[in-house]
């Protein structure tokens, strides 16, 4: 057994602690003078022995416990695991070593470049490996060449390392890793295909000899081959394989290689390869629980294999190798070597893990991943941290703000240029210089004249000459010129269309050119927003329309009136298909009035916000200013200070607004104002509030629109929670949501990066099975320890419990 952290085994000394404690306890144990034990000396002797036994067992358990914990911390790896192999002749596992030789590895730290250190470390690592299985070394900054080269001796690997130099990466790492996995999988599938091919040939030996004879006849060039093959039936015996028979019959006349060529031509004509393809797709698409490639990729690869005729090509290569051999043993060796099933089992990465080249990288879940980080300090490097394509930009008429956060990850000050491209055209360019660890946000106004989605790219050019995900960021904007709003309102709805328009415009920050309000349905089929304050008085067609809009994900804003009957609201909500998440009751007494309340307790899918509870204690300057601005904007009136004060005073009378958002597009709210009467102030306040919460609702809606993975949204707020997900869990979560792992959202990429970083502390991924086993043993020991140290008579305990109940 090997250990990842053998130094931690020093901790085994801790196992002495229970021993010392026991001795100490024995030394200072208090003896009780009790002569009456003479009465049952024999039983005491028995008890004495049992307690001694118990103490010894306890001691043993405790020592074991400490040792196991130490072992588990030292991360044990059995030889087998270290070799990541099943020791079968026909199977081989490939170790893929990814060596980062991008320019950032040229950073000199402690008199050596990171790259030199990586090479040294890699050499040491390879010397330690009990190497029998093939290794693939891939340099990330060198152009890849396929098929991959399998190195099967240490000398070859060390030799190979001599020719690796620093360069610039042309392909993103994630893409490269995916391609590598695919190549290795391709090798595995090819070997399997050849194996199947040979199996078939052996099983239907006679059939193949006939086929070969027919082919030879057709060929007619070499009559000698024809005569030999026609006699092959006599040569062949049950104990010999097809190739052995072929070899025995032809080698005397030096015709083995010619025969093999004939075989190749025969195979080309036969349908055997198609059969092999079918068998392969059956075997390799369903059985493997954790394949190196995702199922789609696997199917794609199999199709590619079929289309490009790789099996036949490989067969040709193989018979070329076989034809060179003059000894049947050697021929069989070549065959065995080619048909070995080689699958990827471990990846070791040597890199500085600077910035985020590794962001969004997808390592197959079934392989062991070892990340080795080189260097603690960074060279001077700029990178795009985040491009904030504010969702507001979507409806912006004149374009929207694009915020680009740039950070200097390095240890020296650096400068670079940010370029913004929209539809392939350079729109903006800005110089930026940053101190080490400094982060800056640069804002651009992006304008597009299209009425469609426009795609853009942020590019950062700096001293680093290598492909880097940090230096590129894609974004898209969508310009929509006309907005149709269906407003189903009471006649006495106190809000003017203009003020609602203002709310929408201010929420979207840029003015929309054309907002059109519809008060009746029938004009158009699809609206961009639906706002209603007469839920209880909706007509059937209206309900149907709203429901279809809800289903399509179009935002629907429902304002509940205080005078509405709760049961009627409920029934109409049910008709709208909202009953699952929303419960409306009139129950809360707010300032001696019954208030319509949207219950937040019924359903977890129902996000609930108490938007606004205002009382006397809310008296801060900021709030005042914001209200002043709001008032001015809505009414387009400049109030004098006294007027403001009186308005604010009125507004600070108790006010309750609550809202709930179900799924993404339904926004439901209810407002309560104490002492609402017909005076000017309150009449002013009601539309104000409605506008205010309408804006809030819009904002929330937009925020929801921005979330790609709603389940993960909660976790975003707590990074630690997100980190708690394992890669597999996240993967399955994504798959459940119908997203492929490559379309990771920005935050998830960040997560993945941080996960990679946390992995850096370990030389290797933990050995799950062994650790689980140890953990179970530890729990068991703990349980036993409990039993031994606190003997409970189960019977008595049960009795007690029963009598108590």
């Amino acid at each position: 057994m090997n250990f990842l952290f053998p130094l931690l085994l020093i901790g085994a000394v801790l196992a002495l602690i229970p021993l010392i404690l026991q001795i100490f306890q024995r030394l200072r144990k208090k003896k009780i003078l009790f002569p009456a034990i003479f009465l049952f000396k024999e039983e005491m002797l028995e008890a004495n022995q049992s307690i001694k036994l118990k103490n010894n067992i306890l001691l043993l358990l405790r020592v074991l416990l400490v040792l196991l914990i130490v072992i588990i911390m030292a991360k044990p790896m059995t030889n087998k695991e270290f070799r990541f192999l099943e020791d079968e002749k026909t199977r081989e596992n490939i170790l893929l070593i990814l060596l980062d030789n991008t320019k950032s590895m040229g950073f000199i730290s402690q008199d050596k470049t990171l790259f030199q250190r990586a090479l040294n470390q890699l050499k040491m690592y390879i010397r330690e490996l009990p190497l029998q299985n093939p290794v693939v070394i891939e340099e990330l900054a060198t152009d890849p060449s396929y098929p991959i080269k399998l190195l099967d001796s240490k000398e070859k690997i060390i030799n190979r390392l001599r020719f690796i130099h620093l360069g610039s990466a042309k392909i993103p790492f994630a893409k490269r890793v995916k391609q590598l996995c695919k190549e290795i999988e391709k090798e595995r599938l090819l070997s399997k295909a050849l194996k199947l091919l040979f199996q078939q040939m052996n099983q239907h030996k006679e059939e193949w000899i006939i086929k070969l004879t027919a082919r030879a006849e057709q060929n007619g060039k070499n009559s000698k081959i024809h005569s030999i093959i026609s006699q092959l039936v006599q040569h062949s015996s049950a104990s010999k394989s097809f190739f052995e028979s072929l070899f025995d019959a032809t080698i005397k006349d030096d015709l083995f290689s010619d025969t093999l060529e004939l075989l190749y031509e025969t195979l080309k004509m036969s349908d055997l390869i198609t059969k092999v393809h079918e068998t392969l797709s059956k075997i390799d698409s369903g059985n493997n629980k954790k394949p190196v490639l995702s199922r789609n990729d696997q199917i794609e690869l199999l199709n590619e294999m079929k289309a490009k005729n790789w099996v036949l090509k490989r067969f040709k290569k193989l018979i070329y190798e076989m034809a060179k051999e003059k000894n049947i043993k050697k021929v069989m060796e070549v065959m065995a070597h080619t048909t070995k099933e080689r699958s990827l089992k471990e990846i070791i990465v040597f890199s500085d893990f600077q910035k985020s080249e590794w962001k969004g990288i997808h390592f197959p879940p079934s392989i062991r991943l070892t990340l080795i980080k080189l260097g603690e300090t960074h060279p001077a490097n700029l990178g795009i941290v985040k491009v904030h394509t504010d969702q507001d930009i979507q409806l912006a008429y004149q374009g929207g703000d694009l915020k680009v956060n740039i950070k200097n990850y390095g240890s020296q000050s650096a400068d670079g240029t940010i370029s913004i491209f929209l539809g392939g055209q350079l729109k903006h360019e800005k110089q930026i210089a940053l101190e080490p660890d400094e982060e800056k946000s640069v804002q651009f106004n992006v304008v597009s004249q299209t009425d469609q989605r426009a795609f853009g790219e942020v590019r950062l050019t700096n001293i680093r000459d290598e492909y880097n995900e940090d230096n590129h960021h894609d974004f898209s904007i969508y310009i929509k010129k006309k907005v149709n709003i269906l407003l189903l309102k009471h006649r006495d709805f106190p809000i003017a269309n203009n003020s609602l328009m203002w709310s929408i415009q201010s929420t979207y920050r840029k003015a929309l050119s054309n907002i059109r309000f519809h008060n009746k349905i029938g004009m158009i089929n699809k609206y961009d927003f639906i706002i209603t304050n007469r839920v209880t008085q909706l007509r059937k067609e209206e309900v149907r329309l709203i429901r279809s809009h809800i289903e399509q994900g179009i935002p629907v804003f429902i304002i509940l009136n205080q005078r509405d009957e709760a049961f009627r609201v409920r029934s109409i909500l049910e008709k709208l298909g909202l009953s699952g998440g929303i419960n409306v009751v009139k129950r809360m007494r707010f300032k001696s009035r019954q208030t319509m309340v949207v219950s937040d307790k019924l359903n977890s899918e129902h996000d609930f916000y108490k938007l606004f509870v205002m009382d006397q204690s809310h008296r801060n300057r900021e709030a005042t200013i914001s209200w002043k601005v709001t008032l001015k904007s809505i009414f387009n009136v400049r109030f004098n200070n006294n007027q403001y004060d009186s308005l604010l005073k009125a507004g600070r009378q108790d006010l309750l607004i609550q809202s709930s958002v179900r799924s993404r597009n339904i926004f439901l709210w209810t407002a309560g104002i104490n002492g609402l009467n017909s005076n000017f102030m309150n009449n002013l306040w009601y539309p104000l509030i409605i506008n205010w919460i309408f804006q809030e609702g819009l904002r929330k809606y937009l925020r929801h629109q921005g979330d790609i993975v709603p389940e993960l949204r909660k976790s975003y707020t707590k990074e630690s929670n997100l980190l708690a997900y394992s890669r597999d869990e996240l993967e399955s979560m994504y798959q459940n949501m119908g997203l492929s792992s490559l379309n990771l959202p920005v935050d998830t990429k960040k997560w993945l990066q941080s996960e990679v970083m946390t992995h850096l502390d370990y030389k290797s991924q933990s050995n799950g099975l062994l650790e689980k086993l140890f953990f179970i043993i530890i729990v068991l020991i703990f349980f036993l320890e409990l039993i031994f140290s606190y003997p409970i008579s189960v019977k008595g305990w049960l009795k007690k419990a029963l009598t108590k109940t």
Binding site: K30, A36, F38, F40, A47
Partner: protein, 296 residues
């Protein structure tokens, strides 16, 4: 430091107890009191009404004639009885907790008080101890002046060895002894069979044996919990066990042991008293004396 085992308060209490001569004369505290037994008596005791079965010779005809009912004239003899107080000084008598006296101390106080009581009544009191061997501590005397000597000797008495009840035979009472009272103060930690056979050998019609069984509260309640290490002082062996597990077993054994003792002592006409050492010795002693007084 010397301890005065003669507690002044107890002495004062003991002096106040009015001892009924008649009830005691039956077999216990004889000394100054008169024996009820008839024989070659010399001194007149009392007249009592004739009861069927009385010897006709004893009827005092003169008195009977005067009173017109039959009276019997009772005579009595003045006897001096020997009292022998024996303390068990085996190692097991060291048992005792922080708050309570060890058994040996307890028995020393008891012996001192008893000795004082008897000497004061004019009885011959002898005090001895035993463990492996029998030791005389205080030679037979009825001189109250010698009480300090007894206290001195008690001070020198310490625990040692194993209690061997065989050592008592032949020493505790002389072969041709007079009638005597024998007090045995012990925890009776000994093989029950040995104990029974020794007690059987000690018993005799001429000797009234009173057994004071000293019991510590630990033995009564067995208050231990968890893993404990018990030390047997006589064999010096340590036994570790879980107290909770053996508690019931111990209680059963202990009960049987005490019941056996009561049975055998009753059989051999001995007086058996168990003294909890947690209770103050004066209380126990006074209870004992009072109970004797009240006996019919």
């Amino acid at each position: 430091m010397k301890t005065n085992y003669l507690d002044e308060h107890l002495i004062a209490k003991l002096s106040q107890i009015p001892i009924k001569p008649l009830s005691l004369a039956e077999g216990l505290f004889k000394g100054r009191h008169r024996s009820k037994k008839s024989g070659e008596e010399v001194e007149f005791k009392e007249f009592r009404p004739y009861i069927q079965g009385d010897d006709l010779k004893k009827i005092d005809w003169k008195r009977s004639a005067r009173q017109e009912t039959y009276f019997v004239k009772e005579m009595e003899d003045e006897l001096n009885y020997k009292v022998h107080l024996i303390i068990d000084q085996s190692a097991s008598m060291d048992q005792g907790g922080k708050d309570e006296m060890s058994k040996i101390e307890y028995s020393k106080y008891l012996v001192a008080a008893l000795a004082y009581l008897f000497v004061k009544q004019g009885d011959q009191v002898q005090v001895s101890s035993f463990s492996n061997r029998f030791h005389s501590i205080f030679k037979s005397s009825n001189n109250i002046q010698k009480m300090p000597l007894l206290v001195e000797s008690l001070n020198h008495l310490s625990t040692q060895g194993v209690s061997d009840f065989y050592s008592l035979i032949g020493k505790a009472r002389p072969l041709r002894s007079d009638k005597m009272i024998l007090f045995l103060l012990s925890d009776l930690i000994c093989d029950p069979n040995t104990l029974h056979s020794c007690l059987a050998k000690l018993s005799s019609p001429k000797v009234k044996i009173i057994l004071f069984h000293l019991i510590s509260p630990d033995e009564l309640n067995f208050p231990f919990k968890g893993d404990v290490h018990f030390l047997d002082p006589e064999s010096n062996n340590t036994f570790s066990c879980n107290a909770g597990q053996i508690k019931n077993k111990f209680k059963a054994h202990w009960e049987r042991f005490c019941n056996d003792l009561q049975f055998w002592t009753q059989k051999w006409d001995m007086e058996y008293r168990s003294f909890n050492t947690q209770t103050h010795y004066s209380e126990n002693l006074l209870d004992f004396i009072k109970s004797y007084h009240l006996k019919p």
